[in-house]
Symmetry: C2
Subunit: 451 residues, 2 copies
């Protein structure tokens, strides 16, 4: 039997784990600095928690877990007889794999509302699973790194999220653009264009502007019976180069003015901050409008800095006034951000931005020529380990070439070679695998040298 | 809708995450010191990888994932019509959740054999899932912390595992007993008792010795048509107080002598080591005999130190000569150990052994009396954060009592109170929430005081 893993999933070799850990640690360090605390939720959630939260398309992408035991005993007879898979599911599957971290978080907040204090600032770094068709950079198991604060309407947290985005990408060394929009701004624009009742048609069209261009948007809107005149007005507003132009256009829309006011407040909080230089208002940004009610964030790499890099958004987030309402807890506004670890991994890899220091390995490998020197080496190993040195010993006195190749494969810098001479002089021959240079060092001095 | 999570699964609140992280970090630190490198494997494996590896009972406890889309279209017609759940599974489910970390590791080694160097020392800390009936201390989602080395027969690694077990439990402050046995010893005992063809009957019975006593074992063996005389001989051998008594009894068994010789070698490696004091040879130890071929390890808490603690084994492991054979790669002996994080968590909790320092929170919470002082506090917050201080600000100038309660709930030691006086003097009133004492401190000095 030739082993394989399910399509869309991955094994991670040590080198990859270290790189991923570097990303997670960077994000986690910033989250903690800003006062977010870690929580974890189970991989499996009740299907009733997950179903209906991600739209019809999302329901299809949920991984469902078959009930254990004789699951057919309680299966829906009608669905079985008509061979209706969709209808059958709820009678043979009670659980599904986590699809994102936001819905489990909302469920968590409602379940644990008496054990936490509001505003509750939490972060969560865990894998999620989606039955998407696998393709380059898209996996069925991938990691999200979310921070959310729930239980406050304060726009101070929108500013905080921008500060955190800035700090994480500064630390990672990726030059980014933080795009920001506000759903109320979009509501206002729809209002003044007279197409408030076609809000979703409008946002779906303008979201595609950079892909299909103005003519494409006009055509798409025409198909929804929105006139070219209205479409042009809309396009002028969403492509306005600064907040002032938009502000004037929205003067007669109450909700539009509210959106502008929210952005004003956030910018006031960011006055004089370096993070502000990375922020761009982008009224065409229309992600997550099924749930976001206020600000919307998206981070992309700065195309001017990396003209050849092809990569979608690497972070996204926003405010949702009704985060916990679906689980029966009203009036709990939340705002959050999610880092896509897998895409960030690819960006760092492509741009060669990983620090050299993250590839951890042991400090020293001892190798011996024969049984006698191997015994001696073993005793030296124990001394080194007792002193806290990360040392290892090749398990038997194999051919020296083989042992040195092993050190090389594991990218170990220092090798301590032990033969008769070394035993007699109570030393090891310390070889630098990078330079090839070697020198005799007393075992006791080796401890100092390695620690 | 009142939210809940599937039985046997858990949410982890921040305090629990920190405690768990302390356990994982301790184990991981030791693994790394001894030269083990991290790998990760997907939560989902192909069912063909998992099925048949854990016995019939294990197959039933696998969580199976329903194929996405119209899964009934390819369902086994016969199984559907006869309502045969077991027979239907393979046609509607291709994937299952990881049941342990050993089988995925074996699969990993075979798949990546050209990317790794042998002996390959890896550790892996990930959750596994089993559809066991949930009960106190037993969960359907739980974490394993495994280290294995594959590609060497050297008994140096058995000694290394004992050293690692010792070091982890020393660091955690749990007094343990490391029980060790060897399958070859058991084979030898069966041989000299003349019941080599009833090996499994024998080991199942003696494994229960401490529960059912000698008479119970004799009765159980009698049911397998093993005479009382033989049973008594067996009991004398497995309850021998030292290796010498067993050695004599096994002198005529080749495999028995081999088992003794392996133990001798391991003890030679451990000569003079503090870890040796924790080791007990226990010929009744019979865990994992379906796969272990050499040494077997089990760690339990020392009952003399904690007479009231009720807890099963907290670590277990052993050597398996055929780790990768089922995936088509022969002659790859492995030896490994697994820490049960959830049980260790319960032990540390029961014995109150967590260090006080692991409950991380922010250094300082700023609170303000009114809008004006809130603006001032926000600017102080930015200064503190820019200096690397983990500071936070209550998001609005709510009632002081409410803000201080929030600091208390989050176990924040220092609160910086800001009102008119503080603004005028460019200070904050720094309150120690533990002692209640407070003093005025200049904002710039606050940075030094907090970092």
């Amino acid at each position: 039997m030739k082993p394989s893993i399910p399509k869309g999933t991955r094994d991670f070799l040590p080198g990859e784990v270290y790189k991923r850990k570097y990303i997670f640690d960077t994000i986690e360090g910033v989250y903690r600095k800003y006062g977010y605390s870690p929580i974890e939720t189970p991989a499996m959630e009740s299907l009733s928690t997950l179903t209906g939260k991600y739209g019809e398309e999302g329901d299809k992408l949920l991984f469902k877990i078959l009930n254990n035991g004789d699951f057919l005993a309680k299966a829906d007879e009608g669905a079985l007889q008509s061979r209706n898979s969709d209808q059958l599911i709820s009678s043979i599957s009670k659980r599904g794999l986590r699809y994102d971290l936001t819905v489990p978080f909302a469920r968590f907040v409602v379940m644990h509302q008496n054990e936490i204090s509001f505003p509750f600032k939490r972060y969560q770094i865990q894998p999620v699973w989606r039955a998407d068709r696998p393709q380059k950079g898209r996996y069925q198991e991938f990691w999200q790194c979310d921070a959310d604060v729930v239980g406050s309407n304060s726009l101070i947290y929108e500013a905080e999220i921008i500060e955190m985005l800035y700090e994480v990408y500064e630390k990672l060394g990726i030059d980014v653009m933080i795009r920001i929009n506000n759903r109320k701004l979009l509501n206002g624009i729809a209002e003044v264009c007279g197409i408030a009742d076609q809000f979703m048609d409008m946002t779906i069209a303008i979201d595609k502007l950079d892909k299909i261009g103005s003519q494409g948007v006009i055509k798409e809107l025409a198909a929804k019976e929105i006139s070219e005149e209205v479409a042009n007005k809309l396009l002028r507003m969403v492509t306005a180069k600064n907040l002032e132009d938009i502000r004037q256009g929205l003067a007669n829309s109450e909700i539009g003015c509210k959106g502008i006011a929210e952005l004003d407040t956030i910018f006031k909080y960011l006055e004089g901050r370096p993070s502000l230089h990375k922020v761009t208002i982008d009224p065409t940004l229309a992600r997550g409008l099924n749930y976001y009610t206020g600000c919307i964030f998206e981070v992309v790499h700065n195309e001017d800095s990396y003209p050849d890099l092809k990569m979608g958004s690497i972070s996204g987030g926003g405010r949702y006034d009704n985060l916990t309402e679906v689980f029966g807890m009203k009036g709990n506004s939340g705002v959050g951000i999610s880092f896509g670890a897998d895409r960030i991994y690819d960006v760092l890899e492509t741009l060669d931005l990983y620090p050299d220091t993250i590839q951890e390995t042991i400090d020293l490998l001892l190798v011996a020529f024969d049984e006698k020197s191997h015994d001696y080496a073993y005793k030296a190993l124990l001394k080194l380990r007792d002193a806290g040195v990360r040392a290892d010993l090749y398990p038997e006195p194999a051919k020296m070439k083989k042992q040195l190749k092993y050190a090389d494969d594991r990218a170990i810098k220092w090798v301590g070679i032990i033969g008769d001479n070394e035993m007699n002089q109570n030393t090891v021959m310390l070889k630098n695998m990078n330079t090839g240079k070697q020198e005799a060092v007393a075992v006791d001095l080796l401890i100092d040298k390695m620690s």
